[in-house]
Symmetry: C2
DNA sequence: CTGAAAGCGCTAACAC
DNA sequence: GTGTTAGCGCTTTCAG
């Protein structure tokens, strides 16, 4: 293993090979206009000295860093980290490095120093992988339009003039509700995520609209707000049962809350799915091993991330080649329903 | 919001303020030797132009990037992402940026291009946050000793001459076993992680040694190997029950497998904890909401990460100040036992 | 095919 | 206090 911490410079290589730095540059950039002998000689020296070109110096002169800024939040949760994993893989594949920042809170709004930090590192583009919560998109309107680097946003309401990649959470809500109806449930409650989250609102609206179309009129008592945590799910289901005694099934806005819903049911002697159908959202790996296995709406953050990286690189490269600027467009991916026992009152296990 | 993609240069600021670039440099670096009036004038221009110094150019000249390379793997799992979250926070606090790489597999061994990539970006140090699996530490021996940048390793067997920050997995195994014995269980099986993982071996050895000290002699049939996934946990427990009919409790090497162990028990009409005590490892947030709530060994990856960042920065700064090189030392953190119902045969719920 | 000169954006060392 | 010169490691002209 020949590794030195960037000690050898192009100058030293040039001197050792008896050529100019120019020629060395040509060799490492695989330019055609070097004689085979010179090329070989230079390459030998490079090998011997363990020389590696400095990405920094290159970025400085070429005004191109092949680095993407990634802003995330809540990495300890499953969603954001799956997304980040998708980003690292796609970026690696495309030959881009990643500069990572994590917001301390989802609703952090003071993002100027963050942008400045990324820009000062000459990132070629930014992937904003923070879910839309509360006012945490307000700064979008203040963003100067002539910002020279592209930004791709994840997990937010699509808007004109920006590029958004997102999952169709509304559709997810509709899928969950349609499935419960089909299973013969008629008193379908909802435990939502915190409603300052865009995703939570979307899922809830999907459920509500589905109810409406099926001829049920929505009432406030059909619904309780949770905060995504298992702990909040336990509290929410207690409250929901109390305020809506006819309840025969629940669409829960994420799997972690669904987990505690089923635990509380078990404690109270309520049978799932016979007395209570449960559908979650996310399809985390453990969901198939809950008791009973959980029916849930699966969202593929990995694909979202991959598309976001591909899109931003497309924009970067086109901009760099002086092509027509690419029009911002939004990409919305459909989630899918994974059917397991927790919602199957009338059929055998699907899966 | 005044943001431009690094357009204004120090030169332009200098020209606009009618001073030399030097003076501007002094202002942005908060050097004392600038007159108040000049400073103010320069600062006004900086404000007006939205000027931000280029971190790249600075790194190049000062040979110091204030950037850490982070190598991780398996981000979609809870452990690595918790660790990464700890790293981002600690780095942010210390004013360091993060260049992130994710290995495609835990046992990836071809790490030279990865190192080269980080070094070419002039990172000041590297945090190797990949768990020790199989041969994936072999390259350590080949690493040149004169590598100029420090590396801190996470989650591996402490070694001479390198800095390791880790949790005491062996102790975790002992804690789990001691607790089960204390609860009156006498036939304590183990479902391990894959044994090419250092952590899995440590946890298993803790269990085994504990058994031995309590006067039980170890037999192969007391143990089955899993692969961390819930799916493997379900298979493993079936096998364990078959080959060890007297089994009255299990120490399971992570919470995800423990989850499916309890599901299988429930299906078979085996009562937890009356007929079968279960202790997990990790304390993932959902564990408190399993049915029954899971007793588990908690490891604090967040603190591990924080210590790792602090340690590497200490090494970097000392090296940069030409101080005595800091001796590599290992830090091992004790895990703690979180007691819940799944293992409480003789007492009331703790926690 | 190869080299010399200039410069990316910034700072260190030295003048005045 | 402030400006000048040099140069971090590299690539882009432009000569030859």
């Amino acid at each position: 293993m020949n590794l030195r911490a960037g000690r050898a410079t192009i100058k030293e290589v040039a001197a050792a090979a008896g050529v100019s730095t120019q020629t060395v540059s040509r060799v490492i950039n695989e330019r055609p206009d070097v004689s085979p002998e010179t090329r070989q000689r230079v390459q030998d020296v490079i090998e011997k000295l363990g020389y590696r070109p400095s990405a920094l110096a290159r970025s400085l002169i070429s005004q191109r860093s092949y680095t993407l800024g990634v802003v995330t939040a809540g990495l300890k949760y499953i969603g954001p980290s799956r997304t980040l994993s998708g980003i690292t893989n796609a970026a690696e594949e495309a030959g881009y490095s990643l500069l990572l920042k994590e917001l301390p809170r989802f609703d952090a709004n003071n993002i100027v120093p963050l942008f400045e930090g990324l820009i000062s590192h000459h990132v070629d583009g930014i992937i904003w992988a923070v879910p839309e919560v509360g006012e945490n998109r307000n700064w979008l309107n203040e963003l100067p339009l002539d910002l020279e680097i592209p930004i791709v946003y994840l997990t937010m309401e699509p808007q004109e003039n920006i590029t958004v990649v997102s999952v169709d959470n509304y559709l997810g809500g509709r899928l969950a509700l349609a499935h419960l109806l089909e299973q013969g449930y008629r008193h379908i409650g909802h435990i939502s995520g915190p409603l300052d989250w865009w995703e939570a609102r979307q899922r809830m609206t999907g459920w509500k609209d589905g109810l409406g179309e099926a001829g049920f009129d929505y009432q406030d008592k059909y619904w309780v707000e949770g905060n995504w945590s298992s702990a909040s799910g336990a509290l929410a289901v207690e409250k929901l049962i109390a305020q809506y005694p006819d309840l025969d099934s629940i669409f829960v806005a994420n799997d972690q809350m669904a987990l505690s819903v089923m635990q509380v049911a078990c404690q109270k002697g309520i049978r799932v799915p016979e007395d209570l159908g449960v559908v979650g959202f996310d399809n985390m790996p453990e969901s198939a091993y809950f008791w009973p296995p959980l029916t849930t709406v699966q969202q593929d953050q990995y694909t979202v991330a991959k598309l976001a990286v591909e899109e931003i690189i497309k924009i970067i490269e086109s901009g760099h080649q002086g092509l027509e600027p690419i029009e911002p467009k939004s990409i919305v991916l459909p989630p899918t329903l994974v059917i397991r026992q927790s919602s199957l009152r009338h059929k055998e296990v699907g899966q």
